[in-house]
């Protein structure tokens, strides 16, 4: 019992945020329920982003009824690679990534060959709400398949690595690079076995990683070191993330972005309840940083000033960036 109490105190001292605090102090406080559909429905997110001039993967088409499944072939056209997603999917479930065609069939990114009927069934499952939050009827979207930048080749296993930045009221507070593993089936979700690697907000240099709640330094599949990698276009990512606050109106979000080898940084999706493992990846508690941002907001409010995206990014980079590299 005493040990637990000590653990509690130690975690609190380091500012580690627990689920209850995240829900009570951030998600419930900053995220208005009525705005949830904007982030929960990827189609709406995409439309908003396009309207705001933010880069997103190109949308090929939307299927919202069983009847429209017949249009699938038409939507795909001659393209050999594309992604089918549930509009309201959670945790990367129900996503089908087609990398190539093979003798009238399709090859998924993991090398599985599937028929057109199987794709249609997948779309049908999406429509019935199998993958949506709460099991409601859903829509399926077919979009551009992101081809990750070569920089990730050595520290990633299949799939598309993405960058998650947690943004509080437009201030990015913590960032992490998510690398798919063999265990995660090419998905970039930590609870499915992907690796999270902390990123220095100022420089875009990767820190150490977390895998299944443990701290790691090497990718389990490629055994290449995950730390000390310079992410390109880092300031671009930061500004993209900071701008998402204006895009959706939610105060506490996780912004998921990818680096396409041709189109550069793209926004994949927004998350109104971002996970907490990012803290392990960064070896840092969220609460200290969010409190610093909240103090800054109070200060600005008192002075009647609002900051632009650039100013906000500069503030957080000054405040939380330039973490000295750790030995080991």
């Amino acid at each position: 019992m005493f040990g637990l109490w000590k653990t509690w105190k130690a975690l609190e001292a380091r500012g580690i945020m627990g689920i209850n605090r995240r829900n009570a102090d951030y998600v419930l406080k900053y995220n208005k329920r009525s705005l949830y559909p904007i982030v929960d429905d990827k189609i709406i997110t995409k439309e908003r982003a396009i309207a705001a001039g933010i880069h997103v993967p190109e949308l090929y088409g939307v299927i919202s009824t069983e009847k429209e499944i017949d249009n699938l072939e038409e939507i795909i056209g001659a393209r050999s690679d594309f992604v089918i997603k549930p509009a309201q999917g959670a945790g990367g479930d129900g996503i089908l990534v087609i990398a190539d065609r093979f003798e009238g069939r399709y090859r998924t990114v993991s090398g599985r060959i599937i028929s057109h009927e199987e794709i249609e069934h997948q779309v049908s499952s999406i429509l019935t709400g199998l993958y949506s939050l709460g099991g409601h009827r859903d829509r399926a979207l077919i979009e551009y398949r992101v081809i990750p930048d070569q920089i990730f080749k050595s520290i990633s296993y299949e799939g598309v690595p993405d960058i998650r930045i947690i943004v509080l009221m437009g201030y990015p507070v913590m960032a992490m690079l998510r690398l798919p593993t063999r265990q995660s089936n090419g998905k970039a979700n930590l609870h499915q076995g992907a690796i999270g690697v902390g990123v220095d907000l100022a420089t875009g240099l990767t820190l150490r990683g977390t895998w299944l709640n443990n701290i790691i330094n090497k990718h389990p599949d490629t055994t290449n070191a995950v730390d000390g990698v310079q992410l390109p276009y880092w300031d671009g990512f930061m500004k993209l993330a900071a701008g998402c606050h204006e895009l959706c109106g939610l105060g506490y979000i996780g912004v998921d972005m990818v680096l396409d080898q041709e189109k550069g940084p793209l926004i994949l999706e927004l998350n109104a309840r971002p996970g907490l493992n990012i803290q392990i990846a960064n070896d840092c508690g969220l609460t200290l940083r969010t409190h610093a941002v909240e103090a800054r907001l109070e200060d600005l409010k008192a002075r009647g000033v609002t900051e632009t995206v650039e100013e906000r990014v500069a503030f957080v980079q000054e405040m939380f960036g330039h973490i000295p590299a750790v030995e080991g």
Binding site: L11, D93, H121, G135, Q279
Partner: protein, 511 residues
């Protein structure tokens, strides 16, 4: 934000204070018992009267029934007799029932049934009794023997109480020649009582015979003879065999006096047999039953005012918040993952019908089979609704099969599966399989075990009889519960499992 916190604190305070004060009012002012333990014995006494009626004469049977004056309260009294007229009248502190019929033939059976319980409070009515009586007249050697007996009794006694006790002891000494003479070869209890009465009458001490029934279940018995004497304020009871004073609490006074229990005109071979059994009853319900005899109607506006059937439903319903509270604590404080919030509570409710051990077994088996069926259906690429229907049907068939097998094996348990658990089972299977697909088998197992654990714990707590009674009797407790839940709504500390989850931070700090 701050005003919201104050608002919340105020709301919590109001709810808790309201809950506590209503409960305290019920306990201290209305005097409702806090535990169900305060049960009372309820006695069911049947007196069966059998006799053979003579064909020609009208029949009239008179039997004493308990006067129920002091220590007992009657809840129900009935005279079961087909064609007989019934009349009850009081004679000298006794009550007598008279059954009468113009014509009856052959063996006749009449019943008298009394349901009673001990009266536990209330003022005792003033009682009156004789304190003086004239001597009975005796002559010759009996007189000498009686006086010879009385002399040492007088010496060894101080008051009426010890006098009577001493007299009874003397009469019960078979070696005393004076006693032998007075008994005249008839040492029956009735005769001894008569001698005692004779002796005491010489000393002008009145004595009365009382006939009692012992409140003991399932034992054949006949009315037991006791003697009593009035000391000016109270009746003193004496055992005619030993002279011991004081009537045991399990004796019910049936009638007093010299008369027989039953007198039959126009019949013969009259016989009365007594059979008793007892049952326990919740003090509350008893209070409600005796309510008609008393002024207390404090239960009028409680859940006890509902019809019995509805009460039973409510007994389950008021426990649902308790179950939800358990899940809330398990999820938000401990951090156990469960399938949704209310599924564990529903499963806990289902356990009511199946019992815990069997319920867990049943759930595990059916869920495992259901999941394997669902994973097979997955290959067929069916849509959600048809797939769900197939799973539901399969669950029904499975439950039917299990019920049949267990019935054939003589296990009645299997039949306890009702409609309600079946729907919950199907839901659980569907949700579990979705979790399986989304998060993988390991996570699904974790969730399933978490759900089963939470459900078992909720079930155990929801069926603690003391708790059920308490919440049902003092529903204001639920307000306190709501207060706690509201407070939990703004709890932002760690969950117990998070301490383990974030252990990685501490390892580094130590190194």
């Amino acid at each position: 934000m701050r005003s919201l916190t104050l608002h919340l604190k105020l709301l919590i305070a109001i709810l808790v204070v309201l809950g506590i004060s209503v409960t305290a009012y019920q306990i201290f002012v209305l005097g409702i018992p806090v535990t169900e333990d305060a049960t009372d014995d309820l006695w069911n006494i049947d007196a069966k009267v059998e006799f053979v009626a003579s064909a020609k004469d009208p029949v009239k049977i008179q039997m004493f029934v308990p006067p129920l004056s002091r220590d007992f309260v009657s809840l129900n009294e009935s005279f079961i007799s087909n064609n007989y007229g019934v009349a009850v009248n009081r004679v000298d502190g006794n009550r007598k029932v008279t059954w009468s019929a113009r014509r009856a033939k052959g063996n006749q059976t009449l019943y008298y049934r009394l349901v009673l319980t001990k009266r536990y409070s209330g003022e005792k009515a003033k009682i009156k009794g004789p304190t003086f009586r004239d001597s009975m007249t005796i002559e010759g050697p009996e007189k000498i023997a009686a006086e010879a007996l009385l002399a040492p009794i007088r010496q060894h006694s101080a008051d009426v109480e010890t006098f009577v006790g001493e007299a009874i002891k003397r009469v019960n000494n078979p070696n005393d020649d004076n006693v032998k003479l007075l008994l005249a070869g008839d040492p029956s209890a009735a005769h001894k009582a008569k001698i005692v009465e004779l002796l005491l009458s010489i000393a002008h001490v009145p004595i009365e015979k009382v006939h009692t029934i012992r409140l003991v279940a399932d034992q054949p018995q006949m009315p037991e003879l006791w003697l009593r004497s009035f000391n000016g304020t109270d009746w003193l009871y004496f055992n005619p065999e030993t002279g011991e004073q004081g009537l045991p609490t399990d004796r019910l006074l049936w009638w007093s006096g010299d008369e027989n229990l039953i007198t039959v005109d126009g019949g013969k071979k009259a016989n009365v047999t007594f059979s008793l059994n007892n049952s326990e009853m919740n003090a509350i319900r008893l209070a409600k039953l005796t309510d008609e005899n008393t002024d207390a109607n404090f239960l009028e506006y409680s859940l006890y005012g509902l019809p019995l059937q509805t009460q039973q439903t409510f007994m389950i319903m008021v426990m649902i918040p308790i179950g939800v509270l358990v899940i809330l604590i398990l999820r938000n404080l401990i951090g156990i993952q469960t399938l949704g919030t209310f599924t564990p509570v529903l499963i806990a409710l289902a356990f009511r019908e199946t019992q815990l051990g069997f319920g867990i077994m049943l759930f595990t088996i059916i869920t495992a089979l259901g999941l394997s069926l669902r994973s097979y259906l997955e290959h067929l690429k069916l849509q959600m609704l048809p797939r769900l229907s197939v799973v539901l049907t399969f669950v029904v068939v499975l439950i039917a099969a299990i019920s049949l097998f267990s019935h054939k094996l003589g296990l009645e348990r299997g039949l306890s599966v009702a409609l309600f658990p079946m729907v919950i089972l199907t839901m659980t299977i569907e949700r579990l399989s979705i979790t399986w697909e989304e998060r993988g088998g390991g996570h699904a197992m974790k969730v399933a075990i978490g759900t089963l654990f939470a459900a078992s714990l909720a079930h155990l707590i929801m069926t603690v009889p003391e708790l059920v009674y308490f919440v049902f009797t003092f529903p204001a407790i639920l307000l306190i519960l709501v207060g706690f839940m509201l407070a939990m709504g703004r709890y932002r500390g760690y969950r117990l499992t998070e301490l383990v989850r974030f252990k990685a931070f501490l390892k580094k700090a130590d190194a």
